[in-house]
Structure formats: structure tokens, C-alpha cells
């Protein structure tokens, strides 16, 4: 293809977007909305996942060891626990450390436990973190059956809640994105069909004078692409503005739990967002217009 005719066809495509501006605007609008939600859901899920990972890393399972366990038995128990699937880190807390910890938890009133140094009631324990929270119950049960284990304390309900929320968010996000993608495809498809209809004479003549299908299709692909790229730029702008103001609101929040959250800022991942927008905008645009052209190329 020589550059002259390529330029000609690209101009035709951009003209098509303009010729058909009401529908093009509608397409751009819905595709922009789709991309914004796509990006919003994406950013939200990245953040939620991040927060969850942080929370999960802080959730420990405590394994209290019977007082009559020998040093060797304690070591064997540690090895057995470490060998379990899903266990991340393991630390040993001796009876003495346990007592110090308990005093710390009592804050200023640690002196209440002062007399107990010689008759320490706190058992030694292992503390483990998990690589996979959904295995918590399984691991808890396995450890419970091990030799010299007095009790296992695991925040299983928290783990269940977290995994549950994560799963729901993933499914919900998937459904929303799916619906929006289909909606965008339908609208773009119809927009291009209108242009195809407006240009049916040109298409007819192109076929008779021996233009190849690639040539006939190109202006419409360009039209789809134009819609896709404009939408990507708009969506990027909106999302940037929203996360800018949202980020400011969060960090200045009076609730310490919120202001201390480690938010993955839009600006940390902006190139991912931009890339994803341009790629999905272009894909949706091209795919939508190819669909619209299929029928018209059969002759």
C-alpha cells in the first residue's frame, strides 16, 4: 500500500467519525464510561488486594505447646508445621517471651503479672503466618492433631470474611466489565453500521472498481480506532482527576485507619492504566467495526 492511498483511507475514516458525529459521540460516551469503570474496578481491586495481603500477613495462627514437651519434641513439632502446605513464616515464642508479650498487652498494668515470673502460666508457642488464607481451617485441623499441641488459635472467621469479600469483588467486577464490554461493542457496531450505510455507494463502487477488502475495510477500522483512542484519552483524564481528589480526601481523613491505609496511587500505575485503556479502546473499536463490516464485504 503506498503512503498516498493509506493517508487517503485514514482521512476517510476520520471523516466518517465526524460525518456520523452524533452516533460517534454516543459511542465515545459509552466506551469512555466502560473504560472508566474498567479502570476504577481495576484500581479498586488492586488496592483491596493490597490491603488484604497486608492484613493477611498480620494475621497469625498461634500454636500453644503443652508445658511438659521436651526441647526435642518442640523442635519436631516446628519441623512438622513448617512442612505443611500453605505455611509461610514460623517463629517460636518461649514461655518467657510469652509472658513479656502478655505484660505488654496489659499496658500500664503489667505489674499485675509481676509475681508470676517463677510460676509462668503462659505456654510456649509457635506463631505462623500463611501464604494462603483459604487453607487456614485445614492447617488448623492438621496442627491440632500433632503431638504436644495444647491448642491452636486461628482467626478463621476473619480469613473467611476476607476471602469471601475478595471472591465477591472479583466476580462482581468481572460481570460489570463483561456487560460494559458487550454494551460498547454493540454501540460501536451500530455506529459503524450507520457509516457503512451512509457510505454504501462508495463501498459499492469500490467493489466494482476492484478495491480489495482490506482497502474497503480500512476507513471503517480507522473510524473504530478513532472512537477507541478518543475514549481512552477521556477515560484516562477522568480517572486521573477522580483518583487525585480521592487520594487527597483519604490521606487527610480524620479516621486514622483510613489515613494510614497504603493506597496504590493512580500515579504509581498510570502507565498501566494508560496502556490498558489504549489497548482495550483500540481492540473494542476495531472489533466493533469488523463486526459491522462483515456483511457488506460479501460479494
Amino acid at each position: 500500500m503506498n503512503s498516498g492511498s493509506f493517508g487517503y483511507l485514514v482521512r476517510q475514516g476520520i471523516n466518517g467519525t465526524w460525518l456520523n458525529r452524533v452516533m460517534s459521540l454516543a459511542s465515545i460516551g459509552i466506551l469512555t464510561a466502560c473504560l472508566i469503570i474498567l479502570g476504577g474496578v481495576g484500581l479498586l481491586s488492586v488496592n483491596v488486594r493490597d490491603i488484604f495481603i497486608a492484613m493477611e500477613n498480620q494475621t497469625e495462627v498461634a500454636i500453644y505447646i503443652e508445658d511438659d514437651a521436651t526441647q526435642a519434641q518442640i523442635t519436631v513439632l516446628g519441623e512438622q508445621i513448617k512442612a505443611l502446605d500453605g505455611v509461610n513464616e514460623i517463629t517460636f515464642i518461649s514461655k518467657e517471651e510469652g509472658l513479656e508479650e502478655a505484660k505488654g498487652m496489659l499496658d500500664g498494668e503489667g505489674y499485675l503479672l509481676d509475681g508470676l515470673d517463677d510460676d509462668n502460666p503462659i505456654p510456649a508457642s509457635y506463631r505462623i503466618t500463611l501464604t494462603d488464607q483459604s487453607k487456614m481451617v485445614e492447617i488448623q485441623n492438621a496442627i491440632q492433631k500433632m503431638e504436644k499441641v495444647e491448642s491452636v488459635v486461628a482467626p478463621t472467621s476473619l480469613a473467611e470474611t476476607l476471602t469471601g469479600i475478595e471472591r465477591t469483588l472479583t466476580i462482581l467486577g468481572g460481570i460489570i466489565i463483561g456487560i460494559l464490554l458487550i454494551a460498547s461493542l454493540v454501540v460501536i457496531n451500530n455506529t459503524i453500521k450507520l457509516t457503512v450505510f451512509a457510505r454504501r455507494r462508495e463501498i459499492n463502487i469500490m467493489k466494482y472498481v476492484g478495491a480489495t477488502n482490506g482497502f474497503i475495510r480500512l476507513p471503517f477500522i480507522v473510524e473504530g480506532l478513532t472512537i477507541g483512542i478518543i475514549s481512552a484519552i477521556l477515560a484516562f483524564g477522568v480517572l486521573a482527576a477522580v483518583s487525585q481528589s480521592l487520594g487527597g480526601m483519604l490521606s487527610s481523613s480524620v479516621i486514622p485507619a483510613i489515613s494510614s491505609l497504603e493506597i496504590i496511587s493512580f500515579w504509581d500505575v498510570w502507565y498501566w492504566v494508560a496502556g490498558a485503556f489504549v489497548v482495550s479502546g483500540m481492540l473494542i473499536g476495531t472489533f466493533g467495526s469488523s463486526m459491522a463490516m462483515r456483511k457488506h464485504l460479501q460479494v
Partner: protein, 225 residues
């Protein structure tokens, strides 16, 4: 140039438009295809252009065997065929010049060549002074000449015209016909579909008569017999 061997065309709804047609049109010939409405004239042209495929039989056009042609070769077959329709099919938003240039743009011809070729073709059909005019401001005869210029732009070996004078005043019709004769003199094969008996009588050219999808007369055979 154009060869039909035992060609039958049945449309999906069961209409038999062509029925066992044998035909040979050689290089440089000028042929009228005559017949009443519904005789199958346009169908014959559609088969030549591979707009429709034959139901049975063999067709060869400009060395392309249409039974075996691949879809992606069809555009190249069509560059050998200049087509003119009764309704002109000009693009109303383009000037005469642009209408002709369009056919070259979309077949990947360099701009430089387009700038040379279009004025030459417009001169050939006598429309040099109407180059910048839009179709709505042209007479029927002039519009058809623009269409003819567009058909000639690739210098095709074959020109096909489906009732080219059907929408034009009789005096102007003769002008178009004369123009086609001139083009034929330059070596182009010309096939003209018409149902205007008078026109055919005045031009004394080979005439193939279709009736109900069959060839019922071919003056070439009569001459040779």
C-alpha cells in the same frame, strides 16, 4: 476474453435466470446483449463480474477461471472490467474529477499517476471543462460520461455497460453509444446490455438475444454461417 460453457444460474429462490448458456466474446469485439425485462441480461453481467457465482458450467473472463477463483483474487479480476450502470452510481459529494480519481485511490495507485491520468480520461470523454462540477449539476448524458471515465481509468481490456442509455434522452444516448464505439476502436472489448431495439438496429454490431435465460439468436453465428 469472455467465455461461457453450459452456464446455468439458479437463484436461491428457485428462479432460473440463465439456462445452459454457451458464449464466446473475443478480444476487441463490440457486442450488444438484447432481451426483454427478466431475460437474464443483468445476471449474465453479474456472473462475468463474479458478483454471483454460476450454479453450473464454466466461465473464463480475462484469463481468470471463475469456477476456481479465490475470493482475494476477485478485486484483481474486476480491475480488468470497467463497469457502467443505468443509474450512473456517482458519489454525489464528489466532483466529476474526484469521482474518477476515487476509483484510482482505492486501488492503490500513486497520486502522481492519478494527477496525470484523470485529466486525460476526462478529456477522452469530453468533460475537461466539467471536472470541478458535482453530479447534481450535470445532465444525464454528462453523468454517464463521468461514469464511463471512471470505468476507463484502469485502462481495462473489457468494458461492460448495463443499459447505459436507459436514463438518458435519446439524442444523448447516441453520444454515449458513439463514445463506446470510439473506445472499442482503441482495442477495448465492449459489451452493452440493452432492450432498445432501435439502437441495436442503428449500430450494426454483433447482437446476442436472450429470452428466458437462453440465447435465442447470435448475429455473429448468423454471419459466419
Amino acid at each position: 476474453m469472455i467465455e461461457f460453457k453450459g452456464v446455468t444460474k439458479v437463484y436461491p429462490n428457485g428462479t432460473v435466470a440463465l439456462d445452459d448458456v454457451d458464449l464466446f466474446i473475443g478480444k476487441g469485439e463490440f457486442v450488444f446483449i438484447l432481451g426483454h425485462s427478466g431475460a437474464g441480461k443483468s445476471t449474465l453481467l453479474k456472473l462475468v463480474l463474479r458478483e454471483e457465482a454460476a450454479t453450473s458450467g464454466e466461465i473464463v473472463v480475462a484469463d481468470y477461471h471463475l469456477n476456481e477463483i479465490r475470493n482475494r483474487d476477485i478485486p484483481y479480476l474486476r480491475r480488468n472490467l470497467g463497469v457502467v450502470f443505468q443509474d450512473f452510481r456517482l458519489i454525489p459529494t464528489m466532483t466529476a474529477y474526484e469521482n474518477v480519481a476515487f476509483a484510482m485511490h482505492v486501488t492503490n495507485i500513486p497520486k502522481k499517476e492519478i494527477r496525470k491520468r484523470v485529466p486525460y480520461i476526462l478529456h477522452l470523454v469530453g468533460l475537461t471543462d466539467k471536472a470541478k462540477v458535482y453530479p447534481t449539476e450535470l445532465s444525464g448524458g454528462e453523468q454517464q460520461r463521468v461514469a464511463l471515465a471512471r470505468a476507463l481509468v484502469h485502462n481495462p481490456p473489457i468494458i461492460i455497460a448495463d443499459e447505459p442509455t436507459g436514463n438518458i434522452d435519446p439524442e444523448l444516448s447516441y453520444e454515449i453509444m458513439e463514445l463506446l464505439t470510439e473506445i472499442n476502436k482503441l482495442g477495448t472489448t465492449v459489451v452493452v446490455v440493452t432492450h432498445e431495439q432501435d439502437m441495436v438496429a442503428d449500430f450494426h454490431r454483433r447482437t446476442i438475444k436472450l429470452e428466458h435465460g437462453r440465447i435465442v439468436a447470435d448475429t455473429r453465428k448468423a454471419v459466419f454461417r
